[in-house]
């Protein structure tokens, strides 16, 4: 059991209290996030959905320590993290959180395997251990045969799978994904959905912000956001085909 795992046994992996973010001042003041209460349980896949400008990306940035809240608290595995020093926050991001972005954010001049091993190297792994781990992760996302390719030689879906492998490098407590299928066509979207689903099955805690109802529908729980606040919560149960026949046009 590593440090991340032992921490996650205590209560929710991620929790916020009264989380607020404001931009501008005076008449131009914008409440991007207006008092958000959130709990993410260990092993849960949570989707946060809403139209662009609803505050979901701001939420993700605050949760991942990429920005600081105007008010409120962020707790990761029982530890308050919104007031950490810049240095401690950078360490936290490197060791405990995996990020996946819409635009992939891969290093163009590094091969797939070099991109994936980078977080382990930055966290102090030996080059050999980092390479071994990167190879395992590329196998897990089904890209072993693309290991030596540059991102420019990969399709959008493949790039995003490399980015997911990279996010898993340091066995993060939680993976935060911002519109992971936003730049992908329908077939690549399905590939990435399959991958996210396999992470879910393996017990990885995941928080995905998206406007794509398709990803949202594969989550365990779905929160809808509007104007910087949560407006609705839905627990999706998976299991049976149910109305599928009717939806496909096969009449009962």
């Amino acid at each position: 059991m590593n440090a991340n795992e032992s921490l996650s046994r205590v209560g929710p992996v991620l929790r916020t209290r009264g989380l607020k973010k404001e931009y501008g001042r005076g008449a131009g003041l914008v409440h991007a996030l207006d008092g958000v209460e959130l709990e993410v349980a260990s092993g849960e896949t949570l989707a946060v959905m809403g139209p662009s400008g609803c505050g979901k990306s701001t939420l993700l940035h605050l949760l991942g320590g990429l920005e600081r809240p105007s008010a409120g608290e962020v707790w990761l595995a029982g530890r308050r993290v919104d007031q950490l020093s810049e240095k401690a926050l950078a360490r936290l991001r490197r060791h405990s959180i995996g990020f996946v972005f819409q635009a992939f954010h891969l290093m163009d001049e590094l091969t797939a395997v070099e991109n994936v091993e980078l977080p382990a190297l930055l966290a102090g792994s030996s080059p050999r251990a980092a390479r071994r781990r990167a190879a395992e992760l590329l196998e897990r996302v089904g890209l072993t045969d693309r290991a030596e390719h540059l991102p420019s030689a990969l399709s959008g879906g493949e790039r995003q799978r490399v980015a997911v492998a990279r996010a898993l490098s340091n066995e993060p407590l939680i993976v935060l994904a911002d519109e992971p299928t936003g730049n992908l066509d329908s077939a690549s979207t399905l590939d990435v959905l399959r991958l996210l689903d396999s992470l879910r099955s393996s017990g990885q805690t995941l928080l995905i912000v998206t406007h794509d109802s398709r990803i949202a529908a594969t989550a365990d729980r779905l929160i809808s956001m509007r104007d910087g606040a949560f407006v609705e919560e839905t627990r999706l149960t998976h299991g049976t085909t149910g109305r599928l026949n009717e939806l496909a046009g096969l009449e009962s």
Partner: protein
């Protein structure tokens, strides 16, 4: 607030009627004569996970009907250690019907007008909050989308049934986007006369 939505299990014996099953069977017979079991297997492959509820007898009942209408003919073929089976073949009339079907461009009707009018009427009569109706509808469609997406994820690469599920997913996504627009509109009109 948390509100569990799920999809109820349908009685597996219930089965369903495929409206175009006559035409599909004619098409499957166009290339070569075939027997009922083979035809049913072809349908099952095309429907993948949705074939579970395919009515056992429907293929045979439909073949009988097609035969009475002179769209197919059948011939009994003996088998060594099993009962005879019937092999079906397309007639000239069957071929004509098939060609009409292939050229027909009618499309399953989406039904936004019905729901739209429900919202307008509910708002006008102050019977129900349209935004609440939209939310309830969203829940129902999301449950369907979840089921369809799960089923699609379960299909192997290149599965023909996966293509059908993709169609279900994309249509539901379009409906959900329209419901977003409905929610925006009816939210904005709140408090207005």
């Amino acid at each position: 607030m948390p509100d569990a939505i799920g999809v109820s299990m349908r009685e597996p014996s219930h089965g369903y009627q495929l409206r175009v099953v006559q035409e599909v069977l004619l098409a499957l017979l166009a290339k070569e004569a075939s027997h009922g079991y083979q035809l049913r297997a072809r349908l099952q492959l095309a429907l993948g996970p949705l074939a579970d509820a395919l009515n056992q007898g429907q293929v045979y009942v439909t073949l009988n009907r097609l035969e009475k209408a002179d769209l197919v003919t059948s011939e009994r073929v003996g088998q060594a250690d099993r009962p005879d089976r019937k092999v079906y073949e397309l007639t000239a009339a069957g071929k004509e019907r098939l060609e009409e079907w292939l050229e027909d461009t009618s499309w399953p009707k989406p039904a936004p007008a019905e729901f739209h009018l429900k919202l307008v009427a509910a708002a006008a009569a102050e019977l129900a909050d349209p935004v609440r109706l939209v939310d309830a509808q969203r829940h129902a469609l999301l449950a369907g989308l979840a089921a369809a997406q799960r089923a699609a994820l379960g299909e192997p690469d290149g599965s023909v049934a996966g293509l059908l599920l993709e169609g279900v997913v994309l249509r539901l996504q379009a409906d959900l986007r329209w419901l977003e627009a409905c929610a925006r509109y009816w939210n904005a009109t709140k408090g207005r006369p």
